[in-house]
Each structure stands twice: as C-alpha cells, then as structure tokens.
C-alpha cells in the first residue's frame, strides 16, 4: 500500500542539502508552507536558491531563512514589498543575489519545467531592461523573448486537503504557484490542513494529482499565517 504521508515537517525537510534549489509555494499567506519553512530554518541547509513570488516576511517565513543567511539567491517577481526587511537588508549589502522575473513568466517557466518543455517565447518584457541578454524574435508580428524552463530539487507547498496517495485539493486562492511548483521539482512535499481518506477528494476536484507529490504531512497552520494582517509577505 502506497503511503506518502509523513509524521512531521522535520522529516519533510530532512533531505534538503546545501546548495539546493527550492520552489517555495504560496502567494501571500494562502498556500505558503509556513511549518515546513520553520523546519527548514532549523534544518540548517545553506547556500539555497529559493524561487518564490516575493521575498518573505520580516524575520519569519522566507524572511527568516534569509535573515539567517541561508539563502544565496532569490528568484522572484516582487521582492520589494516594504515588509520584506530581511531580504532588502541583505540584498543591499550584496549578501543575496536576485533574479527578477515577471510574475507570469515565473509561473510559466516553472510549468515548462514540470511539463518537460525546454522554454518558450513570451512577449512580456520584450524591449525592456528585463530582456537584456535574452534571445528575441518576432512571432506573428510581435517581438518575443525566450525564457527557459526553471527546474528545482525541492518544492514545498501548502494545500487544504491531501490523501496518502498525494492527491491535493486547495481552497480559494491557495492554488497560485503551488500547482505548477508540484510538477517541477525532484522532491515535492505538501503540508495540509487535513489528511483525508483516499477517495474523499472528488476526482473532479483534485487540483494536484498524486503523481506530482512525494510526501504529504498534516500540520496545523503556522500561527503567523492565521493572523489577519495587511503586512506584505
């Protein structure tokens, strides 16, 4: 019997190695694997490359990892939210590298990796500073730039419900980057609000089929992510 469940988030992050590339799910709090992030912070791996839409909170979540100096490089679309002090301080000191990617291009590069594609041509960014050094061509009368697939060693996400086969269901705005991220890493772990028996998630409403997921761990949301707040993450 296949059983992809783990008992603790500590096990979830155990295989993370120095220098690993990590896809970190969530947009704002929905879908952010807050407990895995705290476990990762304790786990100690360093020189990490993290792919995430933003740059995390002040000294918690991704901000905590950056604060601790574990992150070598961030690949993000919006790391400049005023609340992201940890990233911003280290970035301005040259202690963390940044690859800035438009949000849609970021999502699509991750999807391309998970889908076995090498890359794609997109209009977004053509003729701007973000096209610097990128191949471009005119397709159907429009200038487009080439963007490469973005693969990773690990993906960590949060879902609403999961089962022992790795099937995941998200709630409301939790899907965001998590759906493509689960497809694009060698090792994928989801923390979930609720672990449910196989068959409980309607086959029509499985947003991430189990084939993409290695492990599922049921854990209460990190208290930091239940706060109703207007602070940026």
């Amino acid at each position: 019997m296949v059983n992809k469940t783990l008992a603790t988030v500590t096990e979830a992050v155990a295989p993370v190695f120095d220098g690993a590339t990590i896809l970190l799910g969530g947009f704002g709090d929905p879908g952010l694997p807050g407990q895995i992030l705290e476990a990762l912070r304790l786990q100690g791996a360093k020189n990490l490359t993290v792919v995430h839409n933003g740059s995390g909170g002040g000294t918690h979540s991704l901000g905590g990892l950056i604060h601790d100096g574990k992150v070598k490089k961030l690949i993000a679309s919006f790391p400049s939210n005023p609340g992201n002090q940890s990233f911003q301080e280290r970035y301005l000191k040259g202690e963390v590298e940044l690859e800035l990617v438009p949000q849609g291009t970021l999502a699509e590069r991750i999807r391309a990796a998970g889908s076995g594609l090498g890359g794609f041509f997109t209009p977004t960014g053509a003729g701007t500073d973000l096209a610097a050094g990128k191949e471009s061509r005119v397709i159907d009368g429009r200038e487009m730039i080439f963007e490469r697939a973005l693969h990773a060693d690990f993906a960590f996400v949060r879902a609403y419900r999961g089962d022992r086969l790795g099937n995941l269901n998200y709630r409301m705005a939790m899907r965001n980057f998590n759906v493509p991220m689960c497809t694009a890493a060698k090792h994928v772990v989801a923390e979930v609000d609720e672990l449910v028996p196989v068959g409980s998630i309607d086959p029509e409403n499985v947003h991430t089929p189990g084939i993409f997921v290695d492990h599922v761990v049921q854990v209460a949301r990190h208290p930091e992510y239940l706060k109703i707040t207007t602070e940026g993450r």
Binding site: S77, Y91, L98, L100, G104, T105, D129, L130, M172, V179
Partner: protein, 229 residues
C-alpha cells in the same frame, strides 16, 4: 480645481463597459471597483487566481485564504472562479483581460509606460505589472498629473526603465483624460474648473485638443481644491 483619488477612480469606472474583464493594479486603481453601479456586470480579476472578485472584506469577516494580488482580504461575487497562476497569466498574456487599470510613474506620448522602478528605489520589484502591460487588451493608466514636486508625468519620452513600450491606451489623472493615439496625445476631458491650456502647462508632451473636448462630468464630492498627490 482637480479630482480626488476617488474621483479619478470614479471617472475610470464610468468607462468600463458591462461584461468587461478588468484587472486593477494597486493604489488608485483598487478604488475603481467601488464605483461600478449595482447590477452592472464587470468582472474583476486578481492575478493570484481569482475571477469575479467582490468588494474588500469587512473587518471581522476576512477569510485568510481569500486575498487579492495586493494581499488585501476580499470577497467573491456570484459566478466567481479560482485557478492557478499559469491559468491566471494565460488570461492576462493571452489578451483575455479587456482592461488593466495600472498606476504609473511616467507615460510617454507614444504610449510607453514606466511603473516598476524609480531611480531612488534600491530593491526592484516587477510583480504582475509587466505581464499586464504587455498582455491586457487595453491598458488604462491612473495617476496624478504631476509628481509631488510638481513635475509633469506625461512626457515626450520616459526617463525611467519601461514596463512596456507602446502599451497605454488612455490616461486618467486628477486633471485630465488623455488618449494615446498613433498621432500623439489627445486631450479628451479636463477637470472641472480647468481648461486645456492649464492642462497643457502641466504636461511635457504636446496635447492635441479633441474637437469634442469637454469638462469632466464628475460629482462635486470628487472635486478637490488642490492637485492630488
């Protein structure tokens, strides 16, 4: 005279036709959804995976899993849907969003737009703005007509890094409604109490005055004595 920030948003809302799919950027654009009359079907898209977003959530009624792209707690209208980021940006990049209403730092006479990086800003961030500027069928800009130092923001040429070239269709400011056309900028409307000459004096790029150019029809509560900042 000029318009308040809400006045600018109100003026944009008047132009959004029934049935349109609209993405609102942060700042003044966020205010637009508050001025769609009840019963008019306008569908608001949030790039984090929501179509059919409603008003901001009332305090005490926030759902932690229901936020907009600006990380504000929101509500849903009937007929809404959720989806993932690739699908959300298929909507944007694929030209399915009819209107993107974006804030801007500068707009040039040829429709170039800059809104993602100021010279003093040390940490860059582009978010979904670039995909919206390239992908939405119509890009509408809302901004104050001049900077808080009084300098024009509608320029012959942008000085800041571009978000997208040739993307802006119409500019809404506290002083005017200006169209970007192949023949250059056209002044369509001026704020109550102003006149085309005054608007031109605050605009670096030359404005052609439309034959039917007129004073904006905006309720007095949105009028401001001072320029909006």
């Amino acid at each position: 005279m000029s318009l308040t920030r809400d006045g600018i948003a109100y003026r944009v809302a008047c132009d959004l036709p029934e049935g349109s799919y609209v993405n609102l950027g942060i700042g003044i654009p966020t205010l637009v959804s508050g001025y769609i009359p009840a019963g008019k079907d306008v569908f608001f898209h949030s790039e984090n995976g929501i179509l059919g977003m409603g008003a901001l959530a009332q305090p005490g009624h926030e759902d932690p899993d229901l936020i907009n792209a600006g990380k504000q707690y929101v509500t849903l209208n009937p007929g809404a849907s959720f989806f993932d980021h690739p699908t959300s940006f298929s909507m944007i990049r694929g030209g399915h969003i009819n209107f993107a209403v974006l804030g801007a730092l500068e707009v040039a006479a040829n429709g170039d737009m800059a809104n993602w990086r100021t010279p003093g800003e040390k940490v860059p961030g582009v978010g979904g703005a670039m995909d919206l500027a390239f992908g939405a069928k119509n890009v509408l800009v809302t901004m104050t007509h001049v900077t808080n130092k009084g300098k024009p923001k509608i320029l012959n040429k942008c000085s800041l890094p571009l978000t997208a070239p040739h993307c802006v269709k119409r500019i809404y400011t506290d002083m005017a409604v200006v169209d970007v056309t192949p023949e250059g900028l056209v002044l369509r409307e001026f704020a109550p109490g102003l006149d085309p000459q005054t608007v031109q004096s605050k605009t670096e790029a030359p404005l052609r005055v439309a034959a039917d150019c007129k004073e904006m029809n905006v309720p007095p509560k949105f009028h401001a004595a001072q320029p909006t900042t």
